[in-house]
Symmetry: D2
Subunit: 306 residues, 4 copies
């Protein structure tokens, strides 16, 4: 279903070319200061404009429709809507006859018996991640001792100076993938559940909701599989604190007091001019995703607070 979380619960709606993208937040702590411009910074980080990103203009003027009174959250469900201002559906005519590779055009039609809205990916559009980022603005306010720091660490296989490669991909009508690393500071020890709802399970669940994710790893991640136990273990000091961070901040599904550390692999954009796919394209949408990855983590921790 299109709902996430128990104690901090998000319900998302909207289509790429519909009137709005929106999200309803339940379990918001009362008394948080929140204005419509509280969303500007994080939504700005997601917006295109950097090299390699799409030309679609998205000023993202946020409307708070409920759950705020006199500038503070009330504790009642908080609905945020982001109007879709710059919608150009013309290039998407014919998608239902010609589903785009790598997109959900085909699978959406199969799932919904052909009744899905195909324009710009409809409900499957990366556009919905704006709502996720907006929700996380509220989540972050519920987590005053935390810091969320995600950044791109690799593009097209390059660990630095990837600008020329992106430019080359664009000029070829192609695209590049990349890797985002996210560090969450200030996570208290003792969060998460032993079995199904480990911190990794919850974060991975939320992260794979982001379009284009192909993998996630915590701490040493896939490299841990090539290590020995004596190299991978995090020693516990005489003060009872974990002293290194090969595990990514989690043991047995429960936060251990270290930073949460994980990396997310994004595929190269599926929409490429080279393949004759219509629409506006990102040569490297991964540049826009760090704030989205932070958002996925933030909504998880907002739900784990007592």
């Amino acid at each position: 279903m299109n709902t996430f979380g128990n104690n901090f619960r998000l319900s998302i709606y909207g289509e790429s070319h519909g009137p709005v993208t929106g999200i309803v937040l339940d379990g918001v702590r009362p008394g948080l200061e929140l204005r419509e411009d509280s969303f500007t910074e994080d939504l700005g980080r997601r917006r295109p404009g950097a090299e390699g990103t799409t030309a679609r203009v998205e000023p993202d003027p946020v409307k708070i429709l409920s759950g705020v009174y006199r500038g503070r959250t009330t504790g009642a469900p908080l609905c945020i809507e982001i109007p879709n201002l710059d919608v150009c559906s013309a290039p998407y005519e014919g998608i239902s006859q010609h589903p785009r590779p790598g997109h959900a055009d085909l699978t959406a039609a199969l799932k919904f018996g052909g009744f899905n809205d195909p324009r710009g990916g409809g409900h499957f559009s990366g556009r919905l991640s704006a709502a996720l980022v907006a929700a996380a603005v509220v989540a972050k306010k519920m987590l005053p001792g935390y810091a969320f720091e995600a950044k791109v660490v690799e593009v097209g296989g390059l660990k630095e100076n990837w600008g020329p490669a992106i430019e080359a991909a664009r000029s070829e009508g192609d695209s590049l993938g990349g890797i985002v690393e996210c560090r969450v500071k200030g996570v208290p020890a003792g969060l998460g559940e032993p079995f199904w709802d480990s911190v990794e399970s919850l974060v991975a669940h939320a992260v794979f909701a982001i379009p284009g994710v192909r993998g996630i790893e915590f701490g040493d991640g896939f490299a841990a599989a090539a290590k020995k136990g004596s190299e991978h273990n995090d020693i516990i000091g005489p003060d009872g604190r974990v002293q290194s961070n090969h595990a990514g901040g989690i043991n047995g599904g429960i936060s251990n007091g270290q930073d949460l550390l994980f990396r997310v692999a994004f595929k190269p954009a599926s929409s490429i001019a080279k393949a004759g796919i219509p629409g506006r394209h990102d040569a490297c949408f991964v540049l826009r995703t760090p704030v989205i990855v932070e958002a996925a983590a933030a909504i998880v921790f907002a739900g784990l607070q007592k």
Copy 2:
């Protein structure tokens, strides 16, 4: 919480050194043939005995306590219990004073205020994965057209002939990690949800419940991050079918008719004699995990059936 799933719902309980490990399955299809020896094969695949695995003897005699009548599932909740026959708690005395690195000893104590059962990891023990495997025996019966095929593809960084490396690690009192690849054949197109409950989200959620998992990737996975869109896209043929499998069988969170394909990174075992950690140890527990990885996938798909 310790429950997973909506339409096929599992509630797990038990401790490593308690009387039983158990699991309650809700949403089981009525009329499936099920006997207590139906679990023998899959639980045998998880049992130690292969080179590099622990000496703990676990005959795993399963008891079905409810939900089966005259050899068939009834549709009512099905409870499976596996007695813990070979329990030796002596080596774990003192764990609460000396939490083992890499284990949940410390985090469990922090989460539960020191009231957790520390013997053998208590509720955090890998022992609970036996219950997961047992649940998946039922799940697989609900999925007659599927085939689940997981195997170890890498140990200690080696893609083949890893036996000597495991033997060397054992003789050093050390341990090795590894990678398991899982292929699920027969997945119908159209399963999964657009946003939060993408197939990747659900599978990752379940997989990270398995102790020792450090990462998961679908299809090209992390390698996709170094590819171009023109290399990664799966072309759709004139018959409307996806023709390659870079995506791992999923587009936009929805199964596309290809095999589901994913890989899971396991850390090296944290309990190593080298570090003076008491108890019986697996030099390479990853050898026992393919059936557990299959189980995680099977319970997800059992919940996605109509």
Copy 3:
């Protein structure tokens, strides 16, 4: 939380004096015809205007913001918003100092630390039942073989001709309660769950979300408590069908093929001029509730369909 249901899931938001009341529906069947005027009839039944109902004018122009494409549901989350057109907040100044008896003014302030929106009851307003009725318009379309028939059967203790009593109450600045009976025809046998999610449990859960409900009973209801088993049992005929309906259409929590039959007791409105409570008042809001009671039942059955 403010979400209901698993397979047909509703998330409600909005305040009495905020810009909108809205609801997000997940699990909507794709392909249903739905236009913005599809809601007119049922919302009209809830609207004031009948004798004894409030003077607040609520034309209820519905906006569909997502989940519909070319006049049909897509299967993606469907968001319905109803703007609050006729909002007059002035009479509610001072509510936080002087909580109204029988309302949520006091309990809302206690629950949310005083940050709740007090105007017109805020998120606790009966106004939100408009969103419930709108959601049920969609639910009813998912239930083509059903008929929902609720009606007022008692007002102020009178089983008929209650008009003069309402008029008398109004002229005294007082209010009257009443009872609504709901019959659901066409319920297939075999719906519901044995234990927690019996049909009665689900219907009662939804019905008690309606403001002002004090009780619910199924079939013979409270009168059953004064009967003998030989009087209350519903005989099963030789054709295997239940032949009478003392149980209200449910045995063991599961629908038995008879009509679902239940009654709901509504309290008299708490806002009465007699007690000096400001705002516009219904002398007998129960007259507006049959369509809301139907809605509660419809959303339950939409979630129980396969």
Copy 4:
């Protein structure tokens, strides 16, 4: 499904004539003292033996299988099993051919395609309420400031001295229904949710899981429907406290600091010798239900604690 609750979550299993009835509790507070004899008193209140109750002997020796270590709850899932010691299935032969009126025999067969366990009602048996009572023993320990006081207030239409009426019903091979009133003292103000998860919704949801319930009402209940607002409103005193209890302790779905007060109507037992129904019968099982009604309330409030 057969699970209830979010933060205090119960999963029930077992059949009347299977080896056990059990329940898994998740979200148990760590550190509570709990022994196997902690359940004796409440299970004894549910046990037959009083006039009018069945002859089935149920000593109810409880086994704690997980979640307790050194006499205290650990915070991990707590599994309680009650063996079914006195099982006599012979009288139930033939039930599948001759479903008993008023029971779930017919509806269970319809729901589960005839694969249900019909002996003694199988999973639909009143026997499962023993597990509910056992779970509530733990719930009550999580609620040290509360007192749960339920009692029978009416049997067969009589408000007192109903013994002769029960004896007469038994000698006629018939049965009587009745009403249980439950008062919960010590409920803090501010619990519950505005819309779907009102306190009434949650309590009613749990209460209708008890076999044989036909209705529930809070405070003035159905009588409120015949009152005027000026009679029904609970005045708020100058100290900000609610001064009477017509509402049953809830306003707008949220507890108001008064006692929670509700009444539950039970049908007369469906199994009556008069109708030739085989098995052991309660002439008036309502006498055994007060502790079950308390249990339903207790599990709700355990889930509402912060």
